[in-house]
């Protein structure tokens, strides 16, 4: 590219092209000298020789000129670099278009690797890395009062406790409590009333979190004094229900309880305490008859606080422990035993549980990307060796090694960038799928997005990947490109060194794939163990519907029960329904209430160390409909029973056995000497990995609540009952909302959803990398068979049979595989300690899993080399011997 004349005048001298045409210059010089000599009488031949001799070493001069032109800095270097870079890129594109098969394979591999890594990074970034919407978030913490003793642990808050703590503590600038389990505000929605997930909070809640409202204001203490009937909307609810209307502040939100004034709207991304929370309002709006929250013993709330700027968390814990102790002394009847405190920074509290599995997934996808890089590097090596002649020629023409290596790198960078572009598209799709599938399982999925940060990461990753898999082939191929005619023998020699390098890469791939497969296998086995845990009831064919009977139209406990009974009657009349019943909450979703109990006659427990169990209010047919076996005792009769039913766990804890429990009595929930009528089987709660908790079942005719979970047993698919259920409900009370309706099976699946999700993801990456490794092996073996065609032809001509040839090929294939598998198993064993906290009833060095992975990998490798091996035996010796 000759720079135009005007440009050269404009540009400072020194800039512009030179170093080119030096061969022409030298030729002209020598020819001019020869012409002179001819003019003096010499023959042309002699003149030419003489002129050349006089000039001296042309090569050296040419190289000296080129060296000169390489020196020089600043703008000149940039221009040169740009023009050469442009040429490299154009050449690279041409090369790729000439080899579409290779380009496609490489690009597909890279797109998958980079896409997967980008997707996982986006999730990890959103969930673990991005800052939470709480200013100075390190000062915000979940706080629990903690009881000492055998049954110690975290306790919940009550409002009077909150007030005392707030008054006495010095290290918190704000403290507030909240709950989401009181049922949401019911908003009539033009047809079906909707129960909107609501958080009831006290003053101090929003001050502790610190996030300002996007519109209007939050719920500061002054608001509560003025008029507590205010509500704050979540961003999602504001968008959905009010169409992002900016004039919404000050308008009224109609609910079943009356009108609430909209005080403000929170910014997007604010989702505390739960992702589903859409409304916040003051706890003081809840009537005492509903929940007597003015009582100190009504401890059902969670707490969040903000540490003062001048205090550090450790000091705060010490100070708050002192407050707890002081309260325990001052209020021995109610606070004895609650003598310390637990502080957990908000980030930890929100994402701590998923940090390890997510990071493991990130590691897995990184390894998969590495395997993808190794594959592409192998592809490049294989293709590059075929271009050996091209490199030899260029080296003979004076191309420097650096120059050729740079051009190869340009090719791999191009692959990396284009593969990365495809990967970003793929990754975006993957992220959307991940969020949809895992939306409930992971906290903060609202913060997961493909945005500038993630894109920048993807671009950097593509460039880095391109360099990574390009460096090795570039340095290796240009090293073996020596000037001179390329001969078959030399090619073979270079081939064997390339062959060793390719073997090393296969070895690396196998190792990584084995590590991933072991990880995936262990997690899958753990998940299978979780699933095989007996939940304690029959999960099939069971529909569950949760509702809170509205107290607008029913006043007393009898009213609630009569409503419940009428609905049960209507349900049992539905086609396909075999039976229906209720409990206050459904076991895998709710734990019931927490009551203290004691065996009459035992020495009284120290305050704060009382034994605790979960208490569930149930309909008399509950156990039958749920399929919970009656272990001992009598089933409930028609008359309301004052007596209790307990589960096996409680029976063992209290009396040593189920037999001993029946007929004995318990002091429970304030009442003394309540007889135990029966013992039923244990039921697992939300986490199948934990043992069943002790349960007390209370006849809800004696002790009534207005919260019901209807369980309906059907002979067919429970989902077909959803519409009939709603219809039956509407027939009784059209304004009664249903909180949620689901099948027991999905509820129980939800309990294991998180481990399932991670196990599946890990297995997905493991399988992907195994496939990649298999493809890599196939490619390497196929290629080396083709190169050894001549050798194989000779062998066959010398009498080797097909079997021998096949064995030879497969043996060569497996040479790097076996050590790879061994190293992979060792590596997996070493790394498995990272997994051990996630494994349920599976040893981290579980021999079955490791052996299975080893066998699978060996089998896959053998399979991948079988096709090329078969090809090899079909070589016609005559053709092979003639081939080059």
């Amino acid at each position: 590219m000759e720079l135009p004349r005007g440009f050269r005048r404009a540009v400072p001298p020194g800039l512009g092209r030179y170093g080119d045409g030096v061969d022409d210059e030298i030729r002209f010089h020598i020819e001019s000298r020869a012409a002179e000599l001819v003019a003096e009488g010499m023959s042309e031949e002699d003149a030419r020789l003489r002129a050349q001799a006089e000039f001296g070493d042309r090569e050296r001069a040419a190289r000296a000129v080129r060296r000169e032109s390489k020196r020089g800095g600043g703008a000149m270097a940039v221009v040169r670099w740009m023009t050469e870079g442009g040429r490299d890129a154009a050449l690279a594109v041409r090369q790729l278009r000439r080899n579409p098969g290779f380009a496609l394979a490489a690009l597909a591999t890279l797109a998958l690797g980079i896409g997967g890594t980008t997707a996982v990074f986006s999730v990890v970034d959103g969930v673990l890395i991005r800052p939470l919407p709480y200013p100075d978030e390190s000062r915000v913490a979940r706080i629990w009062p903690v009881a000492a003793g055998a049954e110690g642990g975290r306790r919940a808050w009550s409002v009077p406790d909150l007030e005392d703590w707030r008054a006495r503590s010095r290290s918190l600038s704000a403290l507030g409590i909240y709950t989401t389990s009181l049922g949401g505000l019911v908003v009539p929605g033009g047809g079906v009333p909707e129960e909107v997930p609501t958080a009831y909070v006290t003053a101090g809640f929003f001050e502790a979190l610190g996030t300002p409202a996007a519109l209007g204001r939050t719920l500061p203490p002054e608001a509560e004094e003025a008029d507590p009937r205010v509500v704050v909307l979540s961003h999602g609810y504001w968008t959905r229900r009010f169409g992002s209307d900016e004039a919404v502040v000050g308008r009224a939100l109609d609910t079943e309880d009356g009108a609430y004034v909209i005080a403000g709207v929170m910014p997007p991304g604010f989702a505390f305490p739960e992702e589903e929370t859409e409304l916040w309002t003051f706890l003081s709006n809840v009537a005492q008859e509903s929940v007597p929250w003015r009582l100190r013993q009504v401890r059902v709330f969670d707490g969040v606080g903000r540490i003062r700027p001048d205090t550090d968390p450790a000091t705060a814990v010490v100070e708050l422990t002192g407050v707890a102790r002081a309260l325990a002394t001052d209020l021995p009847d109610t606070n004895a035993g609650i003598t310390s405190v637990e502080l957990r920074p908000i980030r930890e509290a929100l994402v701590g549980d998923v940090r390890l599995p997510l990071l493991l997934i990130a590691g897995a996808v990184g390894l998969t990307l590495l395997i993808a890089c190794v594959n592409v590097a192998n592809l490049l090596l294989a293709r590059g060796t075929a271009r050996g002649r091209e490199f030899a020629l260029r080296a003979a023409l004076g191309a420097g090694r650096g120059r050729m290596a740079r051009q190869l790198l340009a090719e791999s960078l191009l692959l990396g960038v284009v593969g990365g572009g495809l990967g970003i598209v793929l990754g975006t799709a993957m992220v959307h799928t991940l969020v949809r599938v895992a939306g409930d399982l992971l906290p903060r999925t609202s913060a997961v997005a493909i945005d500038g940060r993630v894109l920048a990461f993807a671009v950097l990753l593509s460039l880095f990947t391109g360099l990574l898999f390009g460096l090795l082939p570039a340095s290796h191929l240009t090293r073996t490109g020596a000037p001179g005619p390329a001969s078959g023998a030399r090619d073979a020699a270079a081939g064997s060194e390339s062959g060793r390098l390719r073997d090393a890469l296969v070895f690396a791939e196998i190792t990584l794939a084995v590590v991933l497969l072991v990880g995936g296998g262990l997690l899958m086995r753990s998940f299978a163990q979780l699933r095989s845990v007996d939940p304690g009831f029959d999960t099939e064919g069971l529909l569950v519907a949760e509702m809170i009977v509205s107290d607008a139209r029913h006043e007393s406990g009898e009213d609630y029960l009569s409503f419940r009974d009428r609905l049960l009657e209507a349900l049992e009349a539905l086609p396909g329904v075999t039976a229906a019943s209720t409990a206050k909450e459904f076991p895998t979703r709710g734990m019931g209430e927490v009551w203290t109990w004691a065996v009459p006659g035992d020495p009284p427990a120290l305050p704060g160390e009382e034994r605790r169990a979960h208490a569930l209010h149930v309909h008399r047919d509950f156990f039958r409909v749920m399929g919970i076996p009656l272990v001992r005792g009598v089933p409930p009769g028609d008359a309301p029973e004052r007596s209790l039913v307990v589960n096996e766990r409680l029976a063992r804890d209290a009396f040593g056995s189920a037999e001993a429990a029946v007929g004995s009595t318990l002091d429970v929930g304030g009442a003394a000497g309540v007889p135990i009528r029966a013992v039923v089987g244990d039921v697992r709660h939300a986490d199948p990995a934990s043992p069943a908790p002790p349960m007390i079942y209370v006849d809800d005719r004696v002790n009534t609540r207005r919260v019901f979970a209807f369980v309906v047993r059907t002979s067919g698919d429970p989902l077909t009952l959803v519409a009939p259920f709603r219809q039956a409900l509407v027939g009784l009370d059209p304004l009664q909302p249903v909180r949620s309706i689901y099948t027991a099976r999905s509820a129980y699946a939800d309990a294991v959803a998180q481990p399932r999700f991670f196990a599946l993801l890990m297995t997905l990456f493991a399988t992907g990398s195994a496939v990649l490794a298999a493809l890599g092996i196939y490619g390497v073996i196929a290629y080396s068979v083709r190169r050894r065609t001549r050798e194989i032809g000779v062998r066959i001509a010398l009498g080797a049979d097909a079997g021998q040839v096949r064995r030879m090929v497969v043996a060569a294939a497996l040479r790097p595989v076996v050590p790879g598998v061994l190293l992979g198993l060792a590596g997996a064993g070493a790394l498995s300690s990272l997994l051990s906290s996630l494994l349920f009833e599976v040893r981290r060095l579980d021999p079955l899993t490791y052996a299975a992975v080893a066998m699978v990998v060996m089998a896959v490798a053998a399979l991948a080399s079988w096709a090329p091996a078969r090809e090899a035996t079909r070589v016609d010796p005559q053709v092979a011997l003639r081939a080059e």
Partner: protein
């Protein structure tokens, strides 16, 4: 005679004082003007020309020679002219000083 190191550059600059030349012409002129006393090692000529170009003292352009062949012509830039004057002045001083030393008749002033 072999050229003392560093003189090649100033000779080349001088050769270009009267207008553009190609590389062969420069080498011929130097040989002719010194009456064959100084010979330019041809292998060093072209690197020198390119070096001077990099430094911005000469610029080049492809053209056609007296016998209609393609050749690269070099010419001085304004900076090159200034450099030539400076170098020439320095050389004269240097040569005078060396002459004085070599023409000394006795050990005075040691």
């Amino acid at each position: 005679m072999e050229l003392v190191q560093g003189t090649l550059d100033v000779l080349v600059l001088k050769a270009l004082q009267w207008g553009p030349c190609h590389g062969y012409a420069v080498s011929r002129w130097i040989k002719a003007t010194t009456r064959d006393v100084l010979s330019v090692e041809e292998g060093a000529l072209y690197p020198a020309l390119h070096r001077l170009q990099r430094k911005g003292l000469v610029e080049s352009e492809w053209g056609v020679s007296e016998n209609n062949r393609r050749a690269k012509f070099y010419q001085l830039t304004p900076r090159g002219r200034r450099a030539l004057e400076a170098e020439a002045a320095t050389w004269s001083e240097y040569a005078r000083a060396v002459e004085q030393v070599l023409g000394a008749t006795g050990p005075e002033g040691r």
